[in-house]
Symmetry: C2
Subunit: 157 residues, 2 copies
């Protein structure tokens, strides 16, 4: 069991706020916050509908935006706070980028139960098990706050 | 054990040829061929170095390029031939895109052994196990031809 700090909660709330903004823009309710090893912060949100690109999950958007704006080095050793436990695609993208630590709000089990199909099953830690570089994965943190956004999205859909 | 046709070999050779072109452009030795449900063909190659985007694996590039050029519908029900067994990121991206069938040349075990770190462990079929929609995964096909390109790349690196 992890102990989270008020700093962790702050960064996760930025990700959850981004998940609301994603919905307001016509996309899916997911956001992610990067905190680089030297303290730079970048927040991204899902854009898969408006971009017409199904790879536009918040974490993949984050990896691309950070590489373009702060430079790829800002991803190395970074922590990412994701409003939903990252799927296999996003877990892989963050691994290749050099992310060191992933913290999530809603677990995969909750995302799949509340959001329904389509869904993948593996948890982030399962995707990254046995990787050539260990990535720490912690969660859930602020699960209820993040799930409220997904529930609201599903109700209005 | 799958039985492959000369058509399968043809599409896989397009992917392997693309893996050579990727290296010639300064990228990693991977390529992928899409054959849509209505027979449209699109070939993509790794661009992660020249694009400065670590998500630029051949299959993710393919998902994005096809959505932009042929339209997202061309991915639904499609078969993708990949010169390397797709990693978790690429497996997830193709799942979200609606790809129905994945055929690979080099197995993950061979890619990791020949190419070395960084690497992820899950096989494509493990990433997609239990997904809300079944994706058929077959391989290896033309493993030696694809591995020769990776071996050559590693020798010259």
């Amino acid at each position: 069991m992890s102990t989270f700090t008020t700093q962790d909660e702050h960064y996760m709330r930025l990700a959850i706020e981004a998940s609301r903004e994603a919905v307001a823009e016509g996309n899916f309710p997911y956001g992610a916050t990067l905190v680089s090893a030297d303290g730079k912060v970048h927040v991204s949100r899902n854009n898969q509908v408006t971009s017409g690109d199904c790879t536009g999950h918040a974490e993949v958007v984050l990896v691309r935006e950070v590489a373009q704006t702060l430079g790829a080095q800002a991803l190395v050793g970074a922590t990412v706070y994701a409003s939903g436990e990252p799927c296999a695609m996003c877990s892989g993208a963050m691994f290749w980028a050099g992310v060191a630590h992933i913290v999530y709000a809603m677990p995969t089990r909750v995302i799949n139960a509340v959001g329904g199909a389509p869904y993948l099953q593996p948890k982030t830690a399962e995707v990254l098990a046995g990787a050539s570089r260990a990535v720490r994965v912690d969660g859930p943190l602020l699960e209820e706050e993040a799930t409220a956004v997904l529930r609201d999205f599903m109700t209005k859909k």
